[in-house]
């Protein structure tokens, strides 16, 4: 979820909460005032009046729901390719950069080419050879020593 989608969704939720609270307050107020009027006007036979919610609360609710929907939709990640060769091509061509979430970080389940492990074979790693090659690389001047 990007920051803009989070903020729009948050705003929508705040509006929705406000509209619900206003509606609750309105119905509480309305029931008190209706009760007092009806007790004055017609002794006892109180017809429960239809709660006429003010228009602005209705509009606020609809706008809030719309904002929440828009915020959630904005926060959806990009669609991923479904054809094998397109997906494989994306990995080879773009690497990590093709699989970023909205926040610009690499997706958690991105593992690159899943068959690369068949060429690297970590179960059979020849650690002494790797050490020798690394030492040779350092000796040839690759990489600045930190200390």
């Amino acid at each position: 979820m990007t920051w803009i989608s989070k903020s729009v969704t948050g705003l929508g939720l705040v509006l929705l909460a406000h509209a619900c609270y206003s509606a609750h307050e309105h119905s509480a107020l309305h029931s008190i005032s209706t009760a007092s009027i009806s007790s004055v006007a017609s002794h006892g036979s109180s017809t429960p009046a239809v709660a006429s919610l003010p228009l602005d609360i209705v509009i606020e609710t609809v706008v809030a729901i719309f904002a929440v929907c828009v915020g959630l939709v904005l926060g959806t990640p990009d669609l991923r390719p479904i054809e094998w060769r397109v997906w494989a091509g994306k990995i080879e061509r773009e690497g990590e950069r093709g699989f970023l979430t909205g926040d610009g970080e690499v997706e958690k389940d991105y593992i690159g080419n899943p068959f690369k492990v068949l060429e690297i074979r970590p179960g059979f790693v020849d650690i002494r050879k790797q050490r020798k090659e690394f030492a040779a690389w350092v000796r040839e001047g690759g990489g600045t020593p930190k200390k």
Binding site: W84, R85, V86, A88, G89, I91, E92, R93, E94, G95, E96, R97, G98, V106, Y110, I111, G112, N113, F115, K116, V117, L118, E119, I120, R121, P122, G123, F124, V125, D126, I127, R128, K129, Q130, R131, E133, F134, A135, W137, V138, G142, G143, K146
Partner: protein, 315 residues
Amino acid sequence: MSSSLLHPPAQLSPVVALQLSQQAPSLLQNAPSSISPYSLGSLWSAAESPELWTVYENLMLSCLRTGDEESAHICLERLTARFGADNEKLMALGGIFQEAVAQDDAALKRILEEYETILNKDPTNTPISKRRVALFKTLKRTTEAITALIKFLDASPTDAEAWAELGDLYVSQAMYKQGIFAFEEVLLITPNAWNIHAKLGEICYMAATANEPGSDNYLAESLRRFCRSIELCDDYLRGYYGLKITSNKLLGSHPRQSKTDGGLAPPTQETVQRLSEIATSKLSEIVRRNAAGDSGYLGYDLGEIIAAKELLNKE
């Protein structure tokens, strides 16, 4: 940067490996040294995640590679504390550590004997079987490595990694027919692996250039393998490179229509010509867009791009 710690470190360039191992001391300090499942913090956050242990393992391998043995030892200790010393994978990691710090061949032979003792007690210990094969390879006893690996594959024939290792061992001994067989077994297990198709193409090409018997068939087979790898992966640089080389060789050699021993007919010159043109145009497009910094083309390995440029320049 820590995303690269979730993948096996052998593929990292030396620069990245050096950076990772330099960050190792701070990483080790920040991570909790012992995971207690009942701490207060576990109320709102998971005390450990599977990634933590993958990170430890890969960090240990990176540190061993760069020579930072203390950090590697700390990683190994934490892993052992969590999983116990009789966990098979941990035995293998301990074996890797010992191999790395061994001083001479005698020490390596002692480690080999230890592996064999463990295997005598429990022949199904897969990670240790693999370490034994790797140690044979280190000691340059390739025939024994091949024999051990064949025995392992008799017991567990669906291990693609082991078949790939066998294929590489055969190729290193220039036994191309057996190497091709081994990699075809890999493809039986993972049929959509585009890099293995490319690797098979490369091995067939090596067999063809080494003038093995039936080298015309090998060259055509190599062409087909590279085509298959491109079919499985759009814009596959390694595939197009191989396609160009094999199609050039086929155009230049004018193979006679060899009697196929149950195989496919060799491709016509016209097909090969068209493939060569497609390969050239695709290679130049990739190189050009990568050089221009086109955002969708920056994931290629620099070495491969340079090799492609040289190939194109040779024309």
